[in-house]
Amino acid sequence: MQLIAFYILSTVVLLSAFLVIAARNPVHSVLWLISAFFASSGLLVLIGAEFLAMLLVVVYVGAVAVLFLFVVMMLDVDFVELKQGFLNYLPAGALIALALLAEIGVVAAATAAREASGFDPSPGADTNAEALSRVLYTDNLMLFQLAGLILLVAMMGAIVLTLRKRPGVRRQNISEQTNRRREDAVQLKDVRPGQGI
């Protein structure tokens, strides 16, 4: 059962991964990417790494949603045109939704029928998360910190390349606003008719 589930899921992963690069419409590739992530998280569940599976879905599918936004923003995809074919695409969409649902079923059935194997997904701990954090914060402390530094460099890079200090930007200065008196702002002029100021 597990073997069958493995083959089904890996076929889906490979197929979707291929379609990511083969699809013409960038939005479609992003959707295929989600499908690939989803199926690979199923693979992770199969070996008993539930925590990683969840992380994959939460982080990557979440990130893909952001990527999706970027694609839409940068490539100027016409949404009206996309929506026009909605009914035509409905069967295909339903099919893929069904496939995703079937994947969940396959994974659930396979995990339920998991045979005893020599592989321990969470060595020395009760849960995945505990086992992971035990090595992450002890043996691989250096890698953890290095990853943090790399992210810091990435953040610095993003700021260096995009932040611009524009002169003449008017910012709200609250103390200045509250300190304003009537005399600073209002001048009374006695304007005589027909003369102006």
Binding site: L143, L149, I150, V153, M156, V160, L161
Partner: protein
Amino acid sequence: MTLISDLQIAAPEILLSGFALVALLVGAFAGDGSSRFLRAFSTVVLALASLLAFRQVALPPEAAFGGLYQTSEFTSFAKGVVYAIGAGALFMSGGAVRRDGMERYEFPLLMIFASFGAGVMLSAGDLMSLYMGVECLSLSSYVLAAFLRDDLRSSEAGLKYFVLGALASGLLLYGASLVYGFAGSTRFDQIADAPYSIGLVFGLVLMICGLAFKASAAPFHIWTPDVYEGGPSPVVAFFATAPKIAAVVVFANVLFSAFGVMEDQWALIVAVLAAASMLIGAFGALNQNNIKRLLAYSSIGNVGFALIGVAAGETFGTSSILVYMTIYVVATLGLFGGVLAMRRDGKNVELISDLNGLSRMKPALAIALTALVFSVAGIPPLAGFFGKLMVFRAGLQADLLWLVIVGVISSVVSLGYYLRIIWAIWGKEPAAALDPVDFGVGVTVVASTVITFPVLVIWIGGLINATSFAAAG
């Protein structure tokens, strides 16, 4: 093994990263006004880290962080050179940074992070820390290449570097995952003990591709001329020196320590990479008029020469790689100092014809550049000659006669374009005068010239002895 002793073993990197974090806060609060101060301070810290790294050479090899970090004389020596050269590049960047509008506090910090990444990947004892180091170096490099963000060529250089670099990182990572899958461990010493399998060779080849890209060895060199031409000159001076020796030595270290037993598998691949790099470096540069592009091709060719040492294997090659690359990066730093000195009417000029008649305008700079060019070309009395001699000797000892012949041929061909520079400096009529040279640039060029000739010529035996620990056992 306690954390404290781990930190002590990794002292140079701890110093760099700790300083960078503090300096980042200082910069964030004090703004770009602090950038001058931070640049000076960063130079000093890099020099200190270099001393600490050289101290590692004298100490016995140690492992820290459960084998993720590993010192050895070979890599620690290279690390010392990387940090020292990084300090030199930062030292001479001052004037150009100020004039070209790069005076931002992130600039020295990115240089520090890049050197830090180079140090981490040099001291890696594990595929994971290797990748982390490579990535830290590459990410900082992409940003540095695009640092002049309003300049079209600089942003193009950054983008090209990023896209191709990401591809190379992917190759490296894929190779590493195959190696992990087939060897069952990411530790270098355990990979070395793993039984031979085809999957391991596949992973090895992919990793070689990724690392060759980082070292800009042909046929993975395509990005080099564009990035060198487009990137800001002070940054390119750094790219062509510190990360270059780091990449070559990491290349050698990974092959020697993790895949040493599979030498017959990779020796030919590396030899072909070396031959291709030397030939492309020699012939590609012949038609270049831009001095930065020319130096890019020259660096591709020189990486090829260093790879002869790698192809010769651990027994013969170790010392020659270090000697060759050290001499090369010292001379190249000086040459890029020359590029930084090429300014006319406040603008950077970078054509070879802009050097016309330099001997009459600035005789000292002309003499220095001539010595450096000859050293990089490998003309006898200068240090570069001994570097080439060492790698050729290593190649001959390893029975790579054909590779040495290719090396000699491409040396002769590359003389063609080196002599073009010399001819422009001494033989042509002077054009309009160049601007005065910055103090930092002047000092660096003089220092690098003096090290190339006569210091390293007289003490070449000392350098060879200092780097021949592997042969001595």
